[in-house]
Symmetry: C2
Subunit: 139 residues, 2 copies
């Protein structure tokens, strides 16, 4: 039995087309999970579990590949806060993060709530790629 639900329009297909990634079943399904629910911070294993829960057959290897392709294409931003696990942020605009160490949860800090001033210029021969600010909170 299949229950059909009316869903809001998904931007997944558009996003894939915009960056020139072939909209395969797996990529589309993952893109929907990632982008149709507002800003998310998610690990590969979490995304894979969600896919399984939603009856989307995707291998974990494909989830990893897809997350990296999306990141390279600029649809995602990778965040490193714990050694041994990567998170991917669907919000690719300029902002920073709270990290709840106990629960391993990430939470956006809007750019107007925090400011890094006087960023030193990059050492000779180097370019600043990004400035990451992680505010680590306990509890």
């Amino acid at each position: 039995m299949t229950i059909m639900t009316v869903r809001p329009y998904s931007q997944a297909l558009d996003r894939l087309r915009a960056v020139g990634l072939r909209p395969t079943r797996q990529r589309l399904a993952l893109a929907r999970l990632l982008f149709d629910g507002g800003d998310r911070h998610i690990s590969a294993e979490q995304l894979h579990s969600e896919a399984m829960a939603g009856n989307i057959r995707v291998s974990l290897a494909t989830v990893y590949n897809t997350l990296h392709q999306f990141t390279e294409a600029g649809l995602l931003r990778e965040i490193v806060v714990e050694s041994g696990r990567s998170y991917f942020d669907t919000n690719t605009s300029d902002h920073h993060h709270f990290f709840y160490e106990k629960t391993s949860q990430l939470c956006d800090i809007p750019p107007d709530l925090i400011a890094v001033t006087r960023v030193p210029s990059a050492p000779a021969g180097h370019t600043i790629r990004r400035v990451d600010v992680i505010v680590r909170v306990d509890g």
Copy 2:
């Protein structure tokens, strides 16, 4: 053949005593490698290699244990910049980092060269543990 060199006084023993860690041969040797050469950013495997190169017999497991004990004791600070590898900073004072993505090298940014202003207060029920700023540069 062994070449003896005159070395400056090592603070390793004092540091271990100060934090109440039993000064075993391994801990002393690692503390010397860590603290007698100025500020360092080092991974467990790197430290283990240095120990081997210096004819100090320490197992990798002990290097990991020791790094964590030192970190808990406040002698080191752990820095996460790449998923899958931890670095330990012998400089535990308040400062931030350049991270050279190509070479995976870390470099201190003195606190007076960078400033995070308007750090948002921690969400209710939480305390800010630390604010990490990573300036990622390529090359």
